[in-house]
Symmetry: C2
Subunit: 367 residues, 2 copies
């Protein structure tokens, strides 16, 4: 495994470039546009929904992996039939790509989930609302991300449009104290490695801040999260990085919220926080190389996303934050767009978070 | 400053690629060959001694910097005359490029040097041999690197060939206990930052191992090295990273051996060892951005070079060394060639060195 093909040219592909160089791997990216975040390695610009484009891109590549989960299943299956190593493969991806399939499979495997149901009609939604306190979460099963395709619903009419297009996943409003994420890496030989669970904070459905490790007085939570991550990676035969988004409930349980079978926003903090970043680990895992250590390098690492614009002209204001690390995704400014992130590390979580937020704030601009 | 042009496509340019991506800078490389180490960003392949090639490469670039010091001075001056920002500039580079000029300037500035002289004839060499114990170091003033152009001389006839081509620098055989290197970064606004001095070990005139920080019971040595580095960077008006190679003598003095005005093999250890690596810092410095913290992340970090070949097929043997970091320069194997390096970090210097050596040994192959 020397040549890696990444489908999708976003910031996840971009942040694989540095680690690929250091490992001596050749990274090739199939990007959507000429100005993609990973444009430096975009050897093809084209449509990932076009089979010929993808098969041509895959020629000469040792293993295919992904920047996002929007590649249609039939394309992934066709790649595998053509003899291309795809990691994660079509079977695990089918679970990650459809939230209803994911709920069915995880339930069958006995993993802890919110109360859920599938609606095909507004009557189904009404019934689920009635038995779940009149306020539920509805999710389009495929294609959503960063809060898109997810809604809080109190009236069945709210999801009528979605229902015209197919079944809708319904979930109870979980009474959670906070959200966690468990990052795992697994390689074809079976070796599996976990980072300590992180705490994540969302703003408008989008990941905004991440703390490594998740602050807790209860070491059991960390162990349960790690074991859950390991088990799901094994059950679903994931190769590469898997992010398990979790709710920690007020009564001390962990429930699986979402799965992502790729490096994930909750794992950016591992770049500075851990001996091995999620991006390096993903590459090691899909190439079936020994996994790197996931030990933490600092008592605390805090990542804060930068939205809107990450203008180089503002770097000069960072003088007092010389230990905060910048990650600029090279994107054109746009209101609300994830354009970069910053990470601070330290021995005190409050101070570390304050420094990360101060750095992110420097880039804040209303566009 | 958004677009950086690097002249030279070696591993130093290669290791700038990852940091440039994260900072949101566009890196362009003028490489010598199609299969250069930095080929991923080689926007031009051509001869850095050809003015037209270099001027064309520099068009649209905000600042020019270097992977090596072999670019002829007239090309550098021509770039500056054409209005291109060159960092470091022609004046400091003139000092780094010619060891005789360097000795003169550093002596005039009062910096501590080995006893030295310039030979134009074998009689000059004889005279210097007679007054310096019959065993001296001779150096070709320009174009040497990694032990090339340096010889131990006991008979003037040994340097007759070199003398035909011009003056030769002569130096006493310094009675040193070990070699250190002081890395410094300085930006146009004058901000200067030092890493703790490192200890370097050479094999056959080539850097083989580096320890961060240089082990010592004498904190004065560290302070003297740091002050020397800062002062030379300021005296010579260096912008970017400066490496000052030092001899620590048996009587406790530090003498300046060589200068390099670019990221340097002695600084690779900062990638894992320090909050800010020399590669990121060099980019920040030449773009006049605030410099990053140079605090150490670990009590010890040890870098060991890999020579000959760094075959991906051997990565599978690294299972027991999951916290050692790999840096593969993507070079074709060749006996004695620097093809990569590994870095271990830890709390015990002996153990850390053992792990770094064990990882490097995995790649060792007689070619």
């Amino acid at each position: 495994m020397r040549v890696i093909g990444v489908i999708g040219g976003g910031q996840l592909a971009r942040m694989m470039i540095g680690p690929a160089i250091e490992l001596g791997l050749e990274l090739r990216v199939l990007a959507e546009t000429n100005d993609s975040s990973a444009r430096d390695r975009a050897t093809t610009v084209g449509d990932f929904r076009d089979l010929d484009t993808v098969l041509t891109f895959a020629r000469g590549v040792d293993v295919i992996t992904f920047d996002h989960e929007h590649v249609p299943s039939d394309i992934i299956v066709a790649l595998e039939k053509a003899g291309v190593a795809v990691r994660p493969g079509s079977a695990p991806l089918a679970v990650a790509q459809d939230k209803i399939v994911m709920r069915h499979i995880l339930e069958d495997l006995g993993h802890p989930l919110p109360v859920w149901g599938v609606a095909e009609t507004t009557a189904d939604v009404k019934g689920f609302l009635d038995t779940n306190g009149g306020r539920i979460i509805a999710k389009v099963p495929r294609g959503g991300y960063d809060g898109k395709g997810v809604a809080v619903v109190t009236d069945a009419a709210q999801v009528a449009d979605w229902l015209h297009r197919g079944p809708v996943l319904m979930e109870e409003m979980v009474d959670f104290s906070r959200e966690l994420a468990q990052l795992v890496a697994r390689r074809p030989s079976g070796e599996t490695s976990v980072w300590p669970a992180v705490e994540t904070t969302q703003a408008n459905g989008v990941c905004a801040e991440v703390i490594l490790p998740a602050p807790t007085d209860d070491s059991r939570i960390v162990e349960v999260a790690a074991e859950l991550g390991r088990q799901i990676a094994k059950d679903l035969n994931v190769n590469g990085v898997l992010a398990v988004e979790l709710f920690e409930t007020n009564d001390g349980r962990l429930l699986v919220n979402e799965l992502a079978m790729r490096p994930h926003n909750s794992g950016h903090v591992t770049i500075e926080g851990s001996v091995t970043s999620q991006f390096e680990q993903h590459l090691r895992a899909i190439c079936d190389m020994p996994l790197g250590s996931t030990k933490s390098l600092h008592p605390w690492a805090v990542m804060v996303n930068v939205f809107g614009s990450m203008d180089l002209g503002r770097y000069s204001r960072l003088t007092q934050l010389s230990d905060v690390k910048l990650h600029n995704y090279g994107k054109e400014p746009r209101a609300g767009r994830k354009v970069g992130h910053v990470t601070a590390t330290g021995t005190d979580v409050t101070d570390t978070m304050a420094r990360a937020r101060a750095a992110a704030e420097i880039f804040h601009a209303d566009i």
